[in-house]
Structure formats: C-alpha cells, structure tokens
C-alpha cells in the first residue's frame, strides 16, 4: 500500500473515532499508538461498533478470530489491519 493511501486511511479512522467515541476532544488528545481500551476511549461494546464501521466502510468482513486488541486497539494497529485486509 502506498504511503498516501495509508495516510488517508489513518485520517478516516481518526475522524470516525472522534465523531463516535471522542466527541468533543482535541486532535492532540489522541496519539496514534494509544490503546483505545486502556485510555477508556472504546469499551467492549464500542469494539462492535468499530467492527461494523470497518465492514461498511471498507467492504471486508472481520472474523471472530480477528477480534483482537492486536488488530483493533489503536489508530496504528487499525491502519495496519485495514492495509492487510484490503
């Protein structure tokens, strides 16, 4: 995947996270490697919302085995996961 495509994906993720989980926070409040769970940004139900969005937005399915923090728990890990899937 080309670098600017990766940047675009990352921006999409950030926009989604801010609109749906971070509400009125400032850009600098979320670093790309911050753990969503540890920072209290996403809880266990939020993960499902995230998965639903991934499937809608990028057109792939997320299997139960892929439901892991390694894949989904930060902007960086999500970017890598999406890059692997599309």
């Amino acid at each position: 995947m080309r670098g600017n495509q990766q940047v675009a994906i990352k921006q999409k993720i950030r926009t989604f996270i801010f609109e749906n989980f971070f509400f009125d926070a400032k850009e600098e409040d979320l670093s790309d490697d911050a753990s969503f769970l540890e920072q209290g940004i996403i809880d266990s139900t939020g993960v499902l919302e995230l998965v639903e969005w991934l499937e809608d937005e990028f057109g792939f399915t997320v299997d139960d085995e892929e439901l892991t923090p390694e894949n989904l728990d930060s902007v960086d890990s999500l970017t890598d996961f999406i890059a692997r899937k599309i």
Binding site: E19, F23, D24, G40, G46, V47, P69, E70
Partner: protein
C-alpha cells in the same frame, strides 16, 4: 408507610410557625396521602404524612409516650412489633394504639438508643425528647427507608426526601456538589453520606444521629454488615440450606403483617420467585402478583413469569413497558430519585408501582437484596474468574472461564477471549480492596469524557480517595468475595437500588416495598456461610437454590441469571424522541449549567439520532447527563415551593400542641 420531616433549633432562632412544617410535609404528600400530623414547640417541629397500613384508625402520628414527653414521627415498619409490644406491656407500659410506631417510644424510654438493636424492620424516624430538648434520628440497618438532613441558619432540617428540606427555607442552598457528581459517574451512586446536593446528607444505613440542646451532635453506626465473622462452623451445605429456609420463611411471614392486603413482585428470576413461592406455601395471604413486561424481547422475562404464575396459581397483573413509555415517564422519575442515575432501570418500577396502586394495593414483597446477600451477581463471578486467572496465568481453563462471564453481552467474551482478557485486566493487585469493582468503575468513569473542564478538575481522583477513606477499615482483611459483596451491598444496594429504584419508585405511587432477604437476621446468617459455598465454583446463590429446590419449578432454579435491565438510549430514540430532550440538552442550558461539554453532548445526540443502539459508556453517559440536567432544571434553577391548599388543611390535618 409515610413521609416524615421536621427541624430542630440549635440556636435560639424564632420558631418556624405552622407554615414551615406544612410546606415541608406537603412536598412529601405522595408518600402519605391519608393525612398529615404535626408537633411543634419552641425547640423542635415534627411533621408526618401518613399512608395507613397498620392500625388504620389509631395510627395517627406524631405519637407520644404515657406522659407525653417523647414524640415520634416514623416512616416504615417494625415487623416484630407484636412480640415487642407484648414484652413491653408485661413490663408495665401502657399502649394507646395498636400501631408499630408506639413500640419504639416505649422501648426508647427503657433503653435509649439501644432500642434500635431490638427492632426488626425498615424505618427512618425522628424522636423528640421534650424534657431533655434532644432530637434522635435513626435509619434501618440496610437503608431501605431514606432520611436526609442539613444545617442552615442555626437549625437542623430533616426529611424523608430532599425536597422536604428545600421546601423548608429558600435560604438553604440548592447547588450540586461536583465531587459527588464525580462519584455517581464512577460508582453509579454517591460514595457515602454526601448527596449530589451541596450540604445535604443522608443519614447512612445503620446509623443514628443525636442532637442536644447545646447543639452537640453524636453520629454513630449501630449496626454494620458482619462480613468477616465467618465461624469455623462445620455445617454442611444441606444444613445451611435448611437454616436459610427457616429464616426466609419467618422473614417472609412477618413481612405479611399488615392491616391491608399484601402483594408480591414477580420478575421471573430466582429471588422474586422464591418470595412468591414462600408466601403461597407458608402463609394464607391471598396472593396478587405484579410484573413488568417489555415489548423488546432483550429485556422481557414474560415466559418465566408465566411459568411461576402457572406453578403457583396467583392472581397476576402485568404492565407492558415500551421505549416510549420509559422515555415519557423519565422526567417525573428524576423528580422522585432526586439524584442523577446512569440507567433507566428505575422507570419500569415506577410504572409498576402505578399498576399496584390501581389495583388498590399498598404493600408488595420483593426479592431485592438476595444477589448482594447470598452472592448472586455477575460481578462476584467476574472477580472470582479474574483472580483465578491472575493467580494462574498459564491455566488452560482460561478461555473456558472467560466464556462463562457475561454470555448475554454484546461483545461477549465468548466471541473474543483476547478482548475479554484485556478488558478485565485492570493491573489491580489481588489485595487491592476494590479489586472486584475495578473493571466496572473503569467503564463507568469513561462517561466523564463529557465533563466540562471545571467539573473534571474538581473531580479528578477524589471519588476513589473518598471511597477508600470511608470503607478501607471495613474491607481490609476480608476475602475477595466478601469484600466485593460488602461494597455491592453498601454502594449499589444501599445508595442506588433501595433508594432510586426502591423506596422512591414505590412511594411515587404510595406503594411500600418489603424485602425478606434484607431481614437483618438473614443478612447476619448469610455472612457466616463460607464464601466458597455462597457461589460454588461459578454457581451463584448456591445455598438459596438448595433451600428452594422443592418449592420452585426446575426451570427457575436452573435458569441462567439474567440481570434486570431496561432499555436506556433506546427509550429516547427507539420509537419517538421526547420533546423535552432538545430542551434539557440544548447548548444554551448545558452552557449555563456548566457541567458537561455542550458540543460533545450535541455530537452524542447526533449519534443517537442516527442509531439508537449504543455502547455501555454512551448509554450511561446519556442517561446520567439527561438526569443531571433535569435535576438542574427542577431543583437548582426553577425550583418552586407550593403550600398546602386550604381545603386539604381542614380535612386531614391532625395537630398536637
């Protein structure tokens, strides 16, 4: 059941006049619509709103002792009053009424504050000693009946609900206590005796408060849940089950003492089914049962309710809750809870008590308290599993155990054990006194994302510091299971379920709840059951199930526990959006209140309008903020005091002195 209110002059301030007491008690008329009674002298004033349940003719209050030097106003029930009355009469006391209230006056004459040790009941009362010019306030052991108080301009004010205090004097500040808001948005309830309103305190469960003519205040805990006193008893499970059964039968039997018919709530779960079955099998009470049903199958337990109705042949009545009916009742519910709530679960109980009232019943028995006392909650299971895994990180049982937790949740651990493990891993050491509650509090405090910068700055870590200062000594040294149970009993049960979901929802329609599982003899007994038998492996309420095995259908005993829940955000966006939402959550009102970030709330509203199914944090944040803003509007900003209309005054008022 009733409402009480009053005051005590600490300094020599002019007496309040009749209107002061009338205002206070008028605010509590929903608790006791059958008449008002007053006592007043230079020092103190007592007011009582009455719901006639025992001694329908003679039970008017205030009630005095033989020489009219002690005066009492009482809210609640003393279930062992016939026995106490007989003993007192044999010791030479003479009674003027048949009521349970009079028992306290005579017991107090004999034993002073130790009278509380003799009472088996659910109560809050104020007893005024006219000779000594002393006021004595007390509240039942578990916190079933409420009592609030405050000091203002040389006077102590008290009442069954906070509104009675606010009705007393406009000089009493009506402002939020930001630290307690932080507690509610962490623990679901206040941590201790401070309420969400500045300077208004509850008298804690199991506490008494005395104030003398010098203004000296004595506050004392007269009973505490005795976890930790596990005797090395060799009783077998079968023997424990027998003992529990005997206690439960007696606790139920004495709670059917009333001069009006007594009904029961039937949720379909083990606890209310237990109580209903005991009433049917061991008493001759003509049984009416009452249930909530939900249109949304996720919350509905109709099938199990019907199973019990068929099993016991009760005269059954149900009320159906829709999203819209919950949304519609919500503002009125908050006027009654007088505190922010993070879930709508009290609302169906508010609707249910209106059904009871329409059936002309005033008293219902429920299964409340069994989960705390006998070890039923998932949070106990969760603590056990987390502790097991923490101690044996390599165990091959790990995925299997995680799967047993919360099978009904959206992202259930059975879908993703990795997530479950990360979610439940809080880095708390096993000896952390709050170990069991950490994951819940972590999720809940996520709601503070919406706090304004000011509110966030005044909260910080204070909820935890305060909770620790209150409970550390009680909790240290207890095993993990008892520790979690203790906190759940004092926080969730005492400061949320029994008040916001219990007393206040019943009393909104003048309906009194009674709770056999909270009989203090039963609580004391339950504390002696060894923790590993309370929940045997992961089988919750093990001893209770054994005690009830021949009195309940197999399906009810074996049923997987389903926690009582109601739709939260769905209630406001699932069918139609109530008109008041746009008002309470407008940017203007949010900015004026200064508690939550207006823009963030607007974004959450937009998200909910797009999709009404949301995650835990969003649901709790939404319900919590909406209830806070309703309180802000009704109590802080636009509070209005009304007076007893003249026609009510002449008909019902009973005055002493």
């Amino acid at each position: 059941m009733c409402g009480i209110a009053g005051y005590f002059n600490i300094k020599h301030v002019p007496e309040g006049g009749n209107l002061l007491l009338e205002r206070m008690i008028w605010s509590l008329r929903h608790r006791g619509p059958d008449g008002f009674g007053f006592f007043q002298d230079k020092r103190a004033g007592l007011a009582h709103a009455r719901l006639s349940v025992i001694d329908l003719e003679g039970g008017r209050q205030p009630i005095a002792n033989e020489d009219k030097t002690l005066w009492i106003i009482f809210n609640g029930e003393i279930f062992n009053y016939p026995e106490l009355r007989r003993q007192l009469i044999s010791r030479g006391h003479s009674f003027r009424t048949e009521s349970d209230t009079e028992v306290i006056v005579h017991l107090y004459e004999e034993k002073g504050e130790d009278c509380l040790q003799e009472l088996n009941g659910q109560f809050a009362f104020a007893l005024y000693d006219q000779r000594k010019e002393e006021l004595f306030l007390a509240r039942d052991r578990m916190g079933i009946r409420p009592l609030f108080y405050t000091f203002c301009n040389g006077r102590l004010y008290f009442g069954s609900e906070i509104k009675a205090i606010f009705f007393a004097d406009t000089a009493i500040p009506r402002a939020f206590n930001p630290e307690v808001l932080g507690e509610i948005f962490t623990f679901w309830s206040p941590a201790g005796e401070e309420t969400v309103f500045q300077d208004i305190r509850q008298l804690n469960p199991g506490y008494l408060l005395k104030i003398d003519q010098q203004g000296k205040i004595t506050k004392k805990c007269y009973w505490q849940i005795p976890f930790g006193e596990i005797s090395p008893s060799r009783a077998s499970e079968a023997e424990l089950a027998d003992q529990l059964r005997e206690l439960l039968i007696d606790a139920t039997r004495i709670r059917l003492r009333a001069d009006v018919p007594v009904g029961a709530y039937l949720s379909g779960g083990l606890d209310s089914s237990t109580i209903t079955s005991l009433i049917k099998h061991f008493t001759d009470n003509e049984l009416k049962t009452f249930s909530v049903t939900f249109k949304d199958k996720v919350y509905d337990e109709q099938e199990q309710q019907q199973e019990m109705v068929d099993f016991l042949h009760t005269d059954h009545h149900a009320i159906r809750c829709t999203y819209a009916s919950i949304g519609e009742a919500f503002p009125d519910v908050i006027r009654h809870t007088e505190t922010p709530i993070l879930r709508t679960a009290p609302v169906p109980l508010y609707l249910l008590s209106s059904l009871v009232r329409r059936n002309e019943y005033k008293v219902v028995l429920t299964g409340e308290g069994a989960d705390e006392v006998l070890g039923g909650y998932d949070i106990f299971k969760e603590a056990k599993v987390r502790a097991f895994i923490a101690a044996r990180p390599g165990s091959i049982c790990r995925p299997y155990l995680l799967k047993r937790l919360y099978p009904y949740l959206a992202l259930s651990p059975s879908r993703s054990a990795e997530y479950a493990q990360k979610f439940f891993n809080t880095d708390a050491p096993l000896n952390d006194i709050f170990y069991g509650h950490r994951p819940r509090w972590k999720t809940t405090s996520g709601t503070q994302l919406f706090f304004s910068d000011d509110l966030a700055a005044s909260v910080g870590q204070k909820p935890f510091v305060k909770l620790k200062s209150i409970w550390h000594d009680q909790l240290k040294g207890l095993d993990l299971f008892s520790r979690t149970q203790f906190l759940e009993s004092r926080l969730l049960l005492g400061n949320y379920l029994l008040c916001s979901q219990g007393d206040r929802m019943g009393m909104a329609h003048s309906v009194e709840g009674r709770y056999p599982f909270l009989d203090h003899r039963l609580v004391e007994f339950a504390c002696t059951i060894p923790p590993h038998l309370r929940m045997k492996a992961l089988n919750e309420k093990n001893i209770l199930k054994k005690a009830m095995v021949d009195l309940l259908p197999d399906g009810i005993i074996r049923r997987k526990k389903q926690p009582y829940m109601a739709p939260d955000i769905l209630s406001f966006f699932g069918e139609r959006e109530p008109e008041y939402l746009a008002h309470y959550l407008s940017e203007k009102m949010l900015a004026e209140a200064g508690l939550f970030k207006p823009k963030a709330v607007q974004r959450l509203l937009m998200k909910c309008r797009k999709k009404a199914r949301q995650g835990f944090r969003e649901n709790m944040a939404f319900v919590g903020m909406l209830s806070t803003m309703i309180l802000y509007d009704k109590f802080v900003n636009n509070f209005s005091i009304d007076l007893i209309p003249l026609n009510e005054r002449t008909v019902n008022v009973h005055r002493v002195q």
